[in-house]
């Protein structure tokens, strides 16, 4: 003990060379933003080093490119429907550009072809019917065949809709999918990163150096930068693809809405990232991330399904464009459709910003109060109270 103290004790001048004084300027008091920058930088470096991340990004890029290219190929084609024509009905089908007739010797052969999937419908003569034919489908009425054979009156619209509904559907699907994929990918990344720090306990060392707020901010910024970079890469790729395949018409209509999408996504993702980080901080093991982040995942999935199913319903779209969690998808969609007044995106963005600020505030509270609590899942009420 004191009588057995190490020799260096008696002679402080023999201090370890690694404890020498340092050149001035090599060290300064750590500042909040320096810490945030380092933490964000680490998140990005580690993500770029992950093979899984690089591969999934490559696959996503390829999917975007493929859909643009395929869109141009199929868009150029006339679609025809194969029908089996039973002898006697051919006069009705032969001149129809939308139908591709396949001759069948009798009703039995035609039914075999239909059941085998070789044709989509059967057109057979029926003397008793007013049109002289009957159309057979397999399990549902063959609407495309029926409409091809129907006689339609000429339709004139007084106020034609600006956009083609098919195109509207594709754009809705595109916004929805990109938002959904990016938010889930980077949301779960941030959740894993939080739990990794908890599980390995490095968080104790980190918290003795930087504040929980700096840690959370760095994580959110690092992952938001990555998410934005991915979104921008997708946007650039899609636009280049559209130009190369000559689909300029589509491009012209999309421009403004894509810009709004990027702006809304940036804010919306920060909000989601804070919520993902906060909920993940409540558990201590990687296996529990899925269950604890489910509510946040739902917030990401619901807008995706809503925009896919209700992109032709102005009421639903209007509500979506103001609810913060669906605004990143809903408002650009309405801008694209031309439904939104010029001021509407700004109002919605203000609501989103306010909600994001609230989410970050609550998220930081939960995060700070849960980070050092290991073992069973921290109850939400306790995490909020501290």
């Amino acid at each position: 003990m004191s009588t057995q103290a190490s020799p260096t004790q008696a002679n402080p001048t023999q201090a370890d060379p690694t404890q020498t004084t340092n050149a001035p300027g090599e060290r300064h008091a750590p500042r909040f933003l320096d810490g945030v920058g380092l933490i964000a930088g680490r998140e990005i470096t580690m993500r770029l080093r992950s093979k899984a991340f690089l591969w999934s990004t490559a696959v996503l890029m390829l999917a975007v490119l493929a859909s643009v290219v395929l869109g141009s190929i199929f868009g150029a084609q006339e679609t025809t429907t194969k029908v089996a024509v039973v002898a006697g009905a051919s006069a009705v089908v032969d001149d129809n550009p939308a139908l591709e007739p396949v001759a069948a010797s009798d009703q039995d052969e035609a039914e075999r072809m239909l059941r085998a999937g070789d044709v989509d419908a059967i057109v057979a003569p029926a003397a008793s019917e007013p049109l002289g034919i009957t159309v057979y489908g397999l399990d549902s009425p063959p609407d495309s065949v029926v409409s091809a054979l129907s006689v339609e009156p000429t339709v004139e619209l007084l106020e034609p809709a600006a956009t083609d509904p098919t195109l509207a559907y594709l754009v809705a699907f595109g916004f929805g999918l990109v938002f959904f994929m990016s938010a889930i990918t980077f949301g779960s990344t941030i959740a894993q990163s939080v739990v990794e720090e908890k599980q390995t306990r490095i968080v104790e060392i980190l918290l003795s150096t930087v504040s929980a707020r700096a840690l959370l901010t760095g994580k959110v910024i690092g992952n938001s930068v990555m998410a934005m970079a991915q979104i921008l890469a997708i946007a650039v790729l899609a636009i280049l693809g559209l130009i190369v395949t000559g689909q300029r018409v589509l491009l012209g209509g999309l421009g403004g809405s894509v810009v709004w999408f990027v702006v809304f996504f940036a804010v919306g993702f920060v909000m989601l990232a804070a919520l993902f980080a906060a909920t993940a901080a409540m558990v201590s093991r990687a296996e529990d991330i899925g269950s604890v982040t489910t509510p946040v995942t739902m917030l990401v999935m619901i807008p995706y399904f809503l925009v896919v199913f209700f992109n032709d319903d102005p009421t639903v779209l209007t509500i979506m464009s103001y609810v913060p969690f669906s605004a990143p998808v809903g408002m650009p969609m309405r801008v694209f459709l031309g439904d939104a007044q010029w001021w509407e995106p700004f109002v919605s963005l203000a609501i989103l910003l306010a909600t994001a600020a609230l989410a970050v505030w609550i998220g930081e509270r939960i995060y700070r109060n849960s980070l050092l609590r290991t073992g069973p899942r921290v109850k939400l009420a306790e995490a909020l109270q501290g």
């Binding site: 003990m1 004191s2 009588t3 057995q4 103290a5 190490s6 260096t8 004790q9 002679n11 402080p12 023999q14 201090a15 370890d16 690694t18 404890q19 340092n22 050149a23 300027g25 090599e26 060290r27 300064h28 008091a29 750590p30 500042r31 320096d34 810490g35 380092l38 933490i39 680490r42 580690m46 080093r49 990794e196 720090e197 599980q199 390995t200 306990r201 490095i202 968080v203 104790e204 060392i205 980190l206 918290l207 003795s208 150096t209 930087v210 504040s211 050092l372």
Partner: protein, 294 residues
């Protein structure tokens, strides 16, 4: 000088720390000893500000410890952890930079320290690829890379082989020699006894004893004497003011009522035959610990 005053912490109904107070002097290696669940880890977390105390203060040189002060603390938590997929050097440099070091200086510090800890060959390996012992060394590097001015280490010696124990001992001694207060906990009482200048013993959230080894021995150790002589020492049983605790032929351990009684024993022994040794029994830390926490 790091001082704790009246530090109290409750977890629900349980009183984890009850008015804990002790001092870690500048340049003093202070051992923090206690059973499992005695409150060592909670105390250390409070010193580092990772946990808030319900009451009480932690001061450094008489001033309340601030966030800025704590950036100059080195901390090794009880449960180990570094980023598994980061490389050893990269991780150590990252932690130094979080503490405010420039990239070049952080790298230089990290390389020097890793080399000294025997990880010079492993700087580009990921943490998860290291053996447990080497992970432990990396953990020590993480606590020291920013050249802390106060060290708080929770069980720095657990899981180390004897070589590594020696390396870490010398690193800690050097840190103390440069004037830093060093507090570390350990279950390995022999290491604590060999290494420490001061001791703090905690049990059930209360400080039971604190001071230098000699002070603790004087206060809590029983004063016993050991005699080894040629011939039989049976006469000791009849000696005035003497209580024999153990006896075997020419060897005996006894307590003496007074210095005079003890001196009388020695004279008598010399008169009766050849005295091989006559020493004060060294009370080990383990004995003091058991005595104090009982």
């Amino acid at each position: 000088m790091l001082e704790l005053h009246d530090v109290t912490k409750r977890y629900g109904e349980r009183l984890a720390l009850d008015a804990v107070a002790f001092t870690v002097g500048d340049g003093r290696l202070t051992g923090f000893v206690g059973g499992n669940g005695a409150g060592k880890t909670t105390t250390m977390r409070i010193i580092l500000g990772v946990l808030a105390a319900d009451r009480g203060t932690v001061t450094l040189d008489g001033r309340h410890v601030t966030e800025a002060d704590r950036r100059r603390f080195g901390y090794m938590p009880e449960e180990r952890g570094l980023y598994p997929k980061m490389r050893v050097l990269e991780q150590t440099v990252y932690l130094a930079r979080l503490h405010g070091w420039t990239p070049a200086a952080a790298r230089r510090n990290a390389l020097e320290l890793l080399d000294r800890l025997g990880l010079g060959e492993r700087t580009n390996d990921t943490i998860e690829s290291l053996s447990l012992g080497n992970q432990q060394r990396a953990q020590i590097a993480a606590a020291l890379v920013h050249r802390p001015e106060v060290l708080v280490l929770d069980e720095p010696f657990s899981g180390l082989d004897p070589m590594a124990v020696e390396t870490v001992q010398s690193v800690l001694s050097d840190a103390a020699a440069s004037g830093a207060p060093v507090l570390f906990s350990s279950h390995q009482l022999d290491i604590v006894e060999r290494l420490c200048d001061d001791l703090v013993i905690i049990a059930d959230g209360r400080i039971r004893a604190a001071g230098t080894g000699d002070e603790l021995r004087a206060e809590h150790g029983t004063e016993r004497w050991e005699l080894l002589m040629s011939g039989d020492a049976g006469w000791l049983r009849q000696a005035p003011g003497i209580r024999v605790d153990a006896f075997d032929g020419g060897w005996a351990v006894f307590e003496a009522e007074s210095d005079a009684a003890r001196q009388a024993v020695l004279s008598e022994a010399v008169a009766r035959g050849e005295v091989v040794s006559f020493t004060r029994e060294h009370t080990t830390l383990a004995q003091i610990f058991k005595e104090v926490v009982r």
